[in-house]
Assembly symmetry: C2
Homo-oligomer: 146 residues x 2
Amino acid sequence: MRPEERIFRNFLVSRDLRFTPEREVVLQEAFQRHDHFEAEELLSSIRKKRKRTSRATIYRTLELLVQCGLLEVVDFGGSSQHYEHVLGHQHHDHLVCERCGRIIEFTHRKLEKLKERICQEMDFDGRFHTLKIFGICERCRGDSQR
Amino acid sequence: MRPEERIFRNFLVSRDLRFTPEREVVLQEAFQRHDHFEAEELLSSIRKKRKRTSRATIYRTLELLVQCGLLEVVDFGGSSQHYEHVLGHQHHDHLVCERCGRIIEFTHRKLEKLKERICQEMDFDGRFHTLKIFGICERCRGDSQR
DNA sequence: GTGATAATTGAGATTGAATCTCAATATCAA
DNA sequence: TTGATATTGAGATTCAATCTCAATTATCAC
Ligand SMILES: [Mn+2]
Ligand SMILES: [Mn+2]
Ligand SMILES: [Zn+2]
Ligand SMILES: [Zn+2]
């Protein structure tokens, strides 16, 4: 059994919830992807495969997957929420290209240190953070203009 | 004339737009506030003062104020967009208390440096960034538990 | 002034993501 | 098998935000 299924099942059991076929489909579809995805995308992929689901179940299951720590919500400022995997991915932040929309992930040890320091200086008990840098990616600069 | 009005007027002229009474009201109301505010809040304040406005004009004017650099959109992940002043405020980032909802602003020189460095290392032309740290503020910890 | 031209407004309609409702089903433990 | 509980989905609802468009207002050339 895939680790995400194991985790999800345990979570459901611990909450007296059930691992239903519908939830299984959402789990599979969510872990088939490896980018930042939206609920409506999942819905249409699942529909294409002619599997049974409803919009309500998708949204409800995504919420459960976030609660059990398998997924995280990522906000890129658009009109809809995006999700990404937590399992198997270390914490990272994002560069967002304003021209092509590409999302580039990065991690930087110094950032984590700096966050600690800021929290200490501000007397704040920081739990997690998000840093987004908006700009133009190297592809869009096209080897020419800087 | 207040600097924000000067700037807004110049911007409007440069775009062949007009400084109308309706736009003036929105400008005034937006600069009367000194926190992070929502469009609907502005609308109801203005309505209370029995000044004429429509929802459409509020949203349209806020967009203009963002375009001319007087305001900035700040996203705290809620259901609606927030705005804050740019004029008279240096760039800063936010601590968000998950218990009481308080927003605390901070600036850190090292953060700007680090951002530069990250962009360089990632070959990314970063224009601006937002860092949000979520956690519990010192008030909510209440001098006791850490 | 006068009229052509363009900008503006606001009431209300529309959009679209997300959530909610609730009757019909499914699941599980005893 | 039975009763308690969880689940589902079609469709309604919410709500911020945007759009529509006819009526109004400002601006400019003559
Ligand atoms: Mn990511
Ligand atoms: Mn701020
Ligand atoms: Zn790009
Ligand atoms: Zn607090």
